[in-house]
């Protein structure tokens, strides 16, 4: 009995370790020395102050997107379209950065607001397709992701093409005044961290202490009951999508205004999909999200350095995080495996009510 409680207690570590083992196995298969690889990744993530700041800078849009997804997940929505919402935010911010004339604070304020609006609108389209058209948000979102990326490609190869000629790489760098001011010479903008912290607090309060958060929860668990209890499913669905989209748009703005300095072809770089993994690994708990976002960011930044140094493909970072989420999802609860309380008990509830429908 004592051993059993022990196993149950340390169980959450098992899938994490298993994911590490899986990755090590993969490295051995490719003839790489795992110790060397993890050292290289550590160096890549935290080797210098600049690299550490890069990890922080990369965390911020990831965190913003994850926070948005907490809202949509609570409402029972799979907002896969977040990737496109980030892109549209980046496009809107770029538009202001390229073409508006104003002082720096005004520019940045307009960039941020328009980016949030653009993300929210793009998310709203997916929301309306779901509520009005019955199109599942996964498919609506995917199509909108592709359309957003195609739109970006159109802009950077067409109207926003740099004057020196056709390239698919990006627009001209933005003026200094339209970018977020960065710490030292890094890609980290302190202002973006402040924004992310404010967003964290807001999402936390919204989910814990407001009627709106409760409505989203009800909607996510049982849309029909929620509707009958007075929750407007259409309104809350679209609102949750749009709030998430706004945060994603903000993430997009941070990408173009501090991580890069122009609009590029692959502006989001899969941050939206990554954010879905972050929230899943956090098991939808708000306070775990920043930690996991930071961890993911470190792994992925480390993996980029790894590729530069050892020629091993940088997708190793994605594999490590992905396998970790998969294993936690599958084996995270000792209950599901029958080590803790048996899940069979729940399956055979007393059926004395004699209702079956």
């Amino acid at each position: 009995m004592r051993i059993r409680t022990w196993i149950v207690r340390i169980w959450p570590l098992v899938p994490i370790l298993a994911a590490l083992l899986f990755t090590i196995g993969l490295l051995v298969l490719f003839g790489a020395d795992p110790v060397e690889v993890f050292q290289a990744m550590w160096q890549g993530a935290f080797g210098t102050q600049d690299k550490t700041l890069s990890v922080v800078a990369f965390t911020i849009p990831l965190l913003l997107s994850s926070l948005g997804l907490l809202l949509t997940f609570t409402a029972g929505l799979w907002n896969i379209g977040i990737e496109g919402q980030i892109v549209m935010g980046a496009v809107a911010a770029s538009w202001v950065a390229l073409f508006m004339d104003a002082t720096s604070p005004v520019l940045i304020a307009v960039e941020v607001i328009l980016a949030m609006l653009a993300g929210a609108l793009w998310a709203g389209v997916a929301g309306i397709l779901k509520t009005r058209g019955g199109v599942h948000e996964i498919f609506g979102g995917l199509a909108l992701n592709s359309l957003a990326i195609i739109f970006t490609n159109y802009l950077i190869s067409g109207p926003w093409q740099p004057p020196e000629g056709g390239s698919f790489f990006g627009t001209v760098p933005f003026r200094e005044i339209s970018q977020l001011s960065r710490f030292a010479d890094s890609r980290f903008a302190p202002f973006s961290l402040l924004v992310a912290m404010v967003a964290l607090v807001m999402v936390f309060v919204a989910l814990r202490g407001t009627t709106w958060g409760l409505k989203l929860k009800a909607l996510g668990q049982n849309p029909r009951s929620a509707f009958l209890l007075g929750v407007s499913s259409e309104r809350e669905t679209i609102l949750a999508m749009m709030f998430c989209g706004a945060l994603a748009g903000l993430a997009g703005a941070v990408r173009v205004l501090s991580w890069y300095d122009n609009l590029k072809q692959n502006i989001s770089g899969g941050i939206g999909y990554l954010a879905l993994l972050v929230v899943m690994l956090a098991a939808y708990r708000t306070l775990w999200v920043p930690l996991i976002a930071f961890f993911f960011s470190a792994v992925l930044n480390g993996a980029i350095t790894l590729q530069l140094r050892t020629q091993l493909h940088s997708s190793l970072g994605g594999i490590l995080t992905g396998v970790m989420v998969l294993f936690v999802l599958l084996f995270g609860s000792s209950k599901a495996l029958g080590i803790g309380k048996s899940s069979e008990d729940e399956a055979l509830e007393p059926d004395t009510s004699e209702i079956e429908s």
């Binding site: 409760l214 409505k215 007393p350 059926d351 004699e354 209702i355 079956e356």
Partner: protein
């Protein structure tokens, strides 16, 4: 065939659903299995039909012990069960449904199946349209289809779980006649699971009575009802007194309302329900009564006509707008339509409030929940989740969430699956509501409930609403015939 059930036990956690039950069944008899809800009838029958294994005890067929590991193995040994909600597959065609699990051959032989189906259904007096799909059938027809399937599968023992709930008087007669034929002419054993004494008296020749998971006795039928009731309940429960009430002015009026969905259209609904009146709607499921309720609740939009609530035209208002003018709708499935399984009682209280603040005051809401728990006698705490409550307590919670001073309450199956005590409690709550001038419209498949609780009654059949009858002067028989279409 002779069936012996010996010392069957089945526990669910601390609940003793079956606690050592022993019965013997002889060929050619129709047995009634009587008991209150939760007496263990359904569990015992599921064990006998192979749907659940017992914890201990054995089943003997012709003296030989048998263990059934699935409903199919039970049927192969001659035991088949017809569930209240038939185990068929609604999107399938009737023939597909009949064929599923019939044999091991790879290719489906539709022609043979169709002729077998036709032959069996005409033999037992069922009129089944072979070309139809299961989801277009009435509950009674789905039962007939299922019976035919079980008989074709070789059932010698047939268990029928509350088969008369939700079917018409004609369908009931057809069913009972075929049951008699099966027992008398073919020597089959039939088990009628029911809590309706009249049916047991009408059909059966022997009755077993269960109470709280235990066998309490058996009786030759016919016998005095009081005897059976005493065995079922331990003591005869007082019949709930219905307080008389002076009705007020018309609260709800329907004028030439037409509703149509692509499945069913309901034409020319004209109805006036007065403040404080309880109006019962009977009919087979899917006959249009639910559409009426949902149109009043703003859940379906009428094609034409007017719905007037207390002088205000609320035709085509949305559900939420209708709700705001004090119309409440309580659906049949509690955890599907009404409560959110994983939310606590307090959270439900906050959600259901008439006016919600942006920020939640959890302390005050918890106290609010506590006071409702006390007032509605809910067994639970403010932080219990809805799924932790029993069915009766879930229904109490649903009523606890209703606003005060409602104008109209629309109910679907308000006491489905509840025991006598909870049923009486729920109805007393509703009677109290009449003091506020609330009009109540409800649907129930239980004709006794309809007649006992309503002031006036209307019956739906195939989308047509009958004349309105007075509950005091009508009978189950009259309503049953109206359900069958004799409006």
């Amino acid at each position: 065939m002779r069936v012996e059930i010996r010392d069957i036990r089945k526990y669910f956690g601390s609940v003793k659903a079956n606690d050592g039950i022993t019965l013997t069944l002889e060929e050619g008899h129709i047995y009634g299995v009587l008991g209150e809800n939760g007496a263990g009838k359904s569990t015992l029958m599921k064990i006998l039909s192979g749907y659940q294994p017992p914890d201990s005890g054995e089943i003997l067929l012709n003296g030989q012990p048998h263990t059934f590991d699935s409903p199919l193995s039970a049927l192969k040994n001659g035991v088949g069960m017809l569930y209240q909600d038939p185990h068929d597959i609604p999107p399938f065609s009737i023939v597909d449904n009949f064929l599923l699990g019939r044999d091991k051959r790879l290719r489906l032989n539709y022609r043979a199946a169709e002729s077998e189906l036709k032959e069996l259904s005409s033999k037992y007096g069922f009129a089944l349209d072979i070309q139809a799909h299961v989801d277009s059938l009435s509950l009674g027809e789905r039962q007939q289809l299922e019976l035919v399937r079980l008989l074709a599968g070789g059932a010698e023992v047939l268990i029928l779980d509350e088969p008369t709930t939700g079917i018409s008087a004609e369908q009931k007669d057809v069913l009972f006649n075929s049951m008699r034929k099966l027992a008398r002419e073919e020597g089959k054993i039939l088990l009628l699971v029911s809590h309706k004494l009249e049916e047991v008296q009408e059909l059966c020749d022997h009755a077993f009575i269960l109470r709280r998971g235990k066998y309490v006795g058996e009786m030759e039928i016919p016998c005095p009802n009081e005897k059976l009731v005493e065995m079922m309940f331990g003591q005869v429960p007082p019949r709930s007194e219905r307080p008389t009430f002076e009705l007020g002015d018309p609260m709800l009026e329907l004028r030439d309302v037409n509703i149509s969905t692509y499945r069913l259209s309901v034409k020319n609904l004209n109805l006036s329900v007065r403040a404080g009146e309880i109006f019962g709607l009977a009919g087979l499921e899917g006959s249009g009564q639910r559409l009426l309720i949902q149109a009043c609740a703003g859940l379906v939009r009428p094609e034409s006509g007017q719905i007037i609530l207390d002088g205000q035209d609320i035709t085509s208002w949305s559900y939420h707008k209708t709700r705001a003018v004090n119309v409440a709708y309580v659906a049949a499935g509690r955890l599907e339509e009404g409560l959110v399984a994983s939310l606590s009682l307090t959270e439900h209280v906050v959600l259901a409030q008439r006016e919600t603040d942006f920020f939640v005051d959890w302390a005050a809401s918890g106290q609010d929940a506590q006071s409702r728990i006390e007032h509605y006698q809910i067994v639970g705490r403010p932080d219990s989740t809805a799924e932790e409550l029993s069915g009766g307590n879930q229904q109490r919670l649903l009523f606890g969430l209703l606003w005060n001073k409602l104008k109209l309450i629309l109910l679907e199956h308000p006491t489905r699956g509840l025991d006598v005590r909870s049923t009486n409690y729920i109805w007393n709550l509703l009677y109290q509501r009449r003091q506020d001038g609330t009009a109540i419209i409800f649907i129930s498949p239980d004709l006794d409930e309809i007649i006992e609780r309503s002031d006036r009654i209307a019956v739906f059949s195939g989308g047509v609403m009958s004349r309105i009858v007075d509950a005091k002067t009508t009978s189950v028989k009259e309503i049953g015939h109206m359900i069958g279409g004799q409006l």
